[in-house]
Subunit: 234 residues, 2 copies
């Protein structure tokens, strides 16, 4: 008999099942902030899953700030009341992987903000960083080469200059997904790229002269085509 191997998506489902079982446990035992969960060994046996799978699920819930595990001590409920815990677990379990439209929508939202913040907070070092990325982009485009990577790096340099590491993180998360989709669907063409140089320059200058309103305006212009695309794909 051949043993069936689990695909990645199936494995993710397994993790969701474990999380829902943890939720049931928390619910049934009325666990409150600071309370200790049973040990990993015990839970893995009780749930009929491997300890490593269980650990992954716990680490996922740690990522969302719902659990805290202390070495040689145990895993504990974080400082979140039972009601919020239950609601958040429900939301996490119902989360679906973002579609392309959601990603683009979120990117636009984030970038219109990061460029404003960058205009307000950019340091001289940030400016240098952005200028470098800008020049690299222009050079590639003027050479007739594909410059998706350089485009991306310029936008990430703005995110960094925003001084908001939370938005910076989110930009880093969604960006790769977006550029692979861009390349797949050929959203950017070569003619656009030439226009892009001017648009990038405008954004850079606005940030340089610390004019947040203008920076946002120029970013909006830059996103005009993307914006239309985003609202036409469905």
């Amino acid at each position: 008999m051949k043993l069936e191997v689990l695909t990645k998506s199936e494995n993710k489902e397994v993790q969701k099942e474990i999380i829902s079982k943890i939720r049931d446990l928390i619910d049934f035992k009325n666990l409150e902030p600071g309370d200790k969960l049973p040990s990993e060994r015990m839970l893995s046996e009780k749930f009929g899953v491997s300890r490593s799978n269980l650990r992954e699920a716990i680490q996922r819930l740690e990522f969302y700030g719902l659990l805290k595990s202390r070495p040689q001590s145990g895993t504990f409920i974080a400082d979140i009341g039972p009601i919020a815990m239950k609601g958040m677990l429900k939301d996490i379990l119902e989360l679906e992987t973002p579609d392309f439209k959601s990603l683009v929508e979120t990117r636009i939202l984030l970038e219109l903000k990061t460029c404003r913040l960058a205009a307000l907070r950019r340091t001289e070092e940030d400016l240098e960083h952005m200028k470098k990325a800008l020049d690299a982009f222009s050079a590639k485009v003027n050479n007739g080469e594909d410059a998706v990577q350089e485009d991306l790096l310029f936008h990430l340099s703005i995110a960094k200059a925003s001084g908001n590491s939370s938005m910076n993180t989110f930009m880093l998360i969604i960006t790769p997904e977006i550029i692979t989709n861009f390349e797949k669907y050929h959203v950017c063409d070569v003619n656009r790229a030439a226009l892009g140089i001017q648009e990038h320059n405008d954004i850079f200058e606005a940030i340089k002269k610390q004019d947040p309103k203008l920076a946002k305006e120029k970013m909006k212009v830059h996103f005009k085509m993307l914006y239309q695309y985003c609202y036409n794909i469905e």
Copy 2:
């Protein structure tokens, strides 16, 4: 001789070192999309770290979409060119954990958008979900009890109704951090909570009548105090 145990932050530093070593390897070997990395065993030996630590680092880079690992085959460079790869690795290594101000700033940005989107896209099911959360909040407040959890769940129900799973995910990530800080610094007091009922109601009604502009306006009102707080803590 006593063996020094690694704290969590030190462990994170170890992971960063591994990632920087992976970056050096990619750089030195000029690895391009589709190229295979050396095996985990080989790398862990070469870097002088445990395989599990190395695996964690690889999984982190998988999370950011830079690497892809296939079972029984190997770990590969994702569809991201060398320039973007190098730039993103640099950004990831320089990422710092978000401070409270960044979190609040990001939350405000996200929620002003999610409530607009919710007004445009909410289903009847979403409305029910929101109404439930709203009633639970009101009940708690009218009882003179602390209602931070219910407040949180109402806002998350809006994020869900926005139909943008990317923003929904981000809200889930930053929310727990925020509420623990709120409780720590006592941002919310009881008098505010009573006012909060009316404000929540206004937001809900605006979303119900599918008026995105009004929804955003009411959310802004709701955030007024938070907004001031956010820009006064530094």
